[in-house]
């Protein structure tokens, strides 16, 4: 009896932990939706901020986020896919080289995002950008300052492990027999990878890309000083322009805005837009991943 009661109590405690988590999630969703819903409409999405950012929409922030993630994807996905192909197809699991690569990828995945920001500032802006200016523009400042290119590349480094992990998982679900059939027909290993392995892991590449975009769209720390701007009256025209981003917009509006209370609806609505964006991307990725895993069974 006593033991039974103790069992019930402790089981109950574990159940309560789950409930706490779920309640917090629902509370967060509820409050953000409630706070942002009234402000969220077409004009909010399609207009520029007005009156010192106290009114108007978030159009440049949406476009800025989209462009940044686009450039980021173009950099991170090819690198990620090739690294995943190496790890899944070429690497000898026991070799020191392959294990070091794995460790490096895991390290990239856990390095705090602010460190990527520092790296972007020190490497892309202070080193690559400065040297590009010195070489091509005779020292005139163009690339040696924060812009959308450096921010996107910084973000690409952060999302690289996301792509690698997803794609490698997908490649590993391709049945061995398919590779063997291809090789038996006289294809070389490279031809097999190009014609069998990569097409077969298309869904995985898509999943990795979507997860990377969702991650990149939400991160703020890496772009704090590599390219995000407080306010711009135009969307970026070239790679050397700065850009506005949804996450950064939330941060400055809620901490550094001239009138934090008055702009609360805008802050909530921006947060809601960002959440809708990342959640719908995640939902697609989860569905795709579920399909890959089912196919593997």
């Amino acid at each position: 009896m006593n033991r039974n009661l103790k069992d019930k109590l402790i089981e109950g405690l574990t159940g309560i932990s789950v409930l706490i988590i779920i309640l917090v999630i629902l509370l967060m969703l509820f409050i953000i939706v409630k706070g942002g819903w009234s402000e969220l409409n077409w004009r909010f999405i399609s207009e520029y901020p007005r009156d010192g950012m106290t009114k108007g929409g978030i159009f440049p922030a949406i476009i800025g986020t989209a462009l940044m993630t686009l450039i980021m994807t173009m950099a991170a996905v090819p690198f990620g896919v090739i690294t995943a192909v190496y790890l899944a197809e070429y690497a000898n699991e026991r070799s020191v080289f392959a294990r070091t690569i794995r460790f490096a990828v895991k390290t990239l995945a856990v390095v705090p995002s602010i460190i990527f920001g520092l790296f972007g500032l020190g490497f892309f802006i202070g080193f690559v950008g400065k040297d590009m200016d010195a070489l091509f523009r005779g020292g005139e400042l163009k690339w040696g300052q924060p812009n959308i290119l450096w921010a996107s590349l910084t973000m690409a480094l952060l999302t690289l492990p996301v792509v690698i992990v997803s794609v490698e998982e997908a490649i590993r679900t391709i049945p061995r027999e398919m590779r063997e059939a291809s090789l038996a027909l006289g294809a070389t290993k490279w031809q097999t990878i190009l014609k069998v392995v990569i097409p077969g892991s298309g869904t995985g590449i898509l999943t990795g890309t979507i997860l990377a975009i969702s991650r990149g769209a939400g991160e703020v720390a890496p772009i704090l000083f590599t390219g995000a701007a407080y306010y711009l009256s135009h969307i970026p025209h070239s790679l050397s322009d700065q850009f506005m981003s949804l996450g950064y917009h939330i941060y400055i509006m809620s901490t550094q805005s001239a009138n934090v209370d008055e702009t609360q609806p805008i802050q909530f609505a921006t947060t809601l837009v960002l959440l809708i964006l990342t959640f719908s991307l995640n939902a697609v990725a989860v569905t795709l991943r579920y399909r890959i895993r089912n196919k593997a069974k």
Partner: protein, 361 residues
């Protein structure tokens, strides 16, 4: 594939021309593709190395300026002190910009204040004491872990041990939804809502403090700890719990005395990774901790964490200056710490993988 090659060799040697048959025809495209792929894969190692190098490189002026200062101090007699412009090593334009605020602080070397208890980087007499920042980070991290680790581990135990299969399929993705919240959103929630709720509950004075920040960061670390713990618990061979249940132990006893101990390395790795996540978290720290560099142990006072300091101040510093270097120094410390944490958890996860493999046999 390996069998195929060895089969090929076997056939070849039977035919009496092993060399030509076992050595596959050299194809340039294949050779090149392999080298290229290997090179790209190598880039991820190079990247980690580059991050190391560049974050440290930017931090090094803190100590180099020290050396410069010392030379100046020793070689120049006090009366010519005003002759700052001919500082010997100030060849880069950055250094000249950087040395601008320095004349105001004749006696103080940048790095000698690193261990002081004041973080006042923009005052007339700048002090770069890291103690309050370390203390702040420690306070927030402890609070976040004390909140996140028990809740996440208990929830993982419920999910993998007690929940009915139908419920489990529903709980796991729901909890992992929390991982989809960008940290700026959690920070925003903490700033706008959580801070007020907690202040009403506990009635402390400053609205944003280590406690609020800690709880919010705990929310960010929860899904990390939860998912990895759940994986570790599920990886424990079914035979363990079957044996325990068969001997008459209750589900609770089985969970806490058999399965959980068997999964300890994985749970430990999960907590370590959660710790890394909290330690480097920037946006939540910036938004919810109040950002005052106080040296106090009171959890309800405002704090400034290491990462938040970088995030808040980097945009305003002189490129290449002392303050800039100190912020990079903080970054190097963060990087080293998370690197070590990852190395430790890697070691434990490897153990766990071996265990997983054994259970499948």
């Amino acid at each position: 594939m390996k069998e195929m090659i060895s089969a090929g060799t076997g056939a070849g040697s039977m035919m009496g021309r092993p060399a030509s048959f076992s050595r596959k025809r050299f194809r340039f495209s294949d050779w090149f593709a392999e080298k290229f792929i290997k090179f790209i894969a190598f880039m991820s190692i190079a990247l980690v190395a580059l991050i190391f190098i560049f974050v440290f490189r930017e931090a090094s002026p803190v100590f180099r300026m020290d050396a410069v200062k010392k030379v100046v101090d020793q070689s120049l007699v006090p009366e010519v002190y005003g002759a700052v412009p001919d500082q010997p090593v100030a060849e880069a334009p950055n250094h000249q910009e950087a040395s601008a605020p320095d004349p105001a602080t004749p006696g103080i070397k940048p790095s000698s204040t690193l261990l002081s208890r004041e973080w006042m980087p923009v005052s007339d007499e700048p002090r770069y004491g890291l103690i309050p920042l370390f203390l702040g980070t420690l306070k927030v991290t402890v609070i976040a872990l004390l909140f996140a680790a028990p809740v996440a581990i208990l929830a993982a135990i419920y999910t993998s041990m007690f929940a009915r299969p139908g419920v489990r399929e529903f709980i796991k993705p729901l909890v992992e939804l929390l991982a989809g919240f960008p940290s700026v959103v959690i920070g925003f929630f903490a700033l706008m809502v959580l801070a007020s709720i907690l202040q009403n509950l506990f009635g402390y004075a400053s609205r944003l403090n280590a406690f609020v920040g800690g709880i919010a960061m705990g929310l960010a670390a929860l899904p990390v700890i939860y998912t990895l713990t759940e994986d570790a618990l599920t990886a424990v061979p079914k035979t363990y719990s079957e044996a325990s249940l068969g001997l008459g132990a209750s589900k609770r006893q089985t969970a806490f005395h058999v399965v959980l101990p068997a999964a300890v390395p994985g749970v430990f790795a999960a907590v370590i990774l959660g710790l890394g996540r909290i330690f480097g978290e920037t946006m939540i720290a910036l938004m919810a901790t109040g950002n005052a560099a106080l040296t106090s142990l009171n959890p309800f006072e405002s704090v400034r964490t290491l990462s938040a300091t970088i995030g808040a101040e980097m945009a305003e510093v002189v490129f290449g200056g002392t303050h800039y270097g100190v912020l990079f120094l903080i970054g190097s410390l963060l990087f080293i710490f998370t690197f070590l944490l990852n190395a430790v958890s890697e070691f434990y996860i490897k153990n766990l993988v071996v265990r997983k493999y054994q259970s499948r046999k």
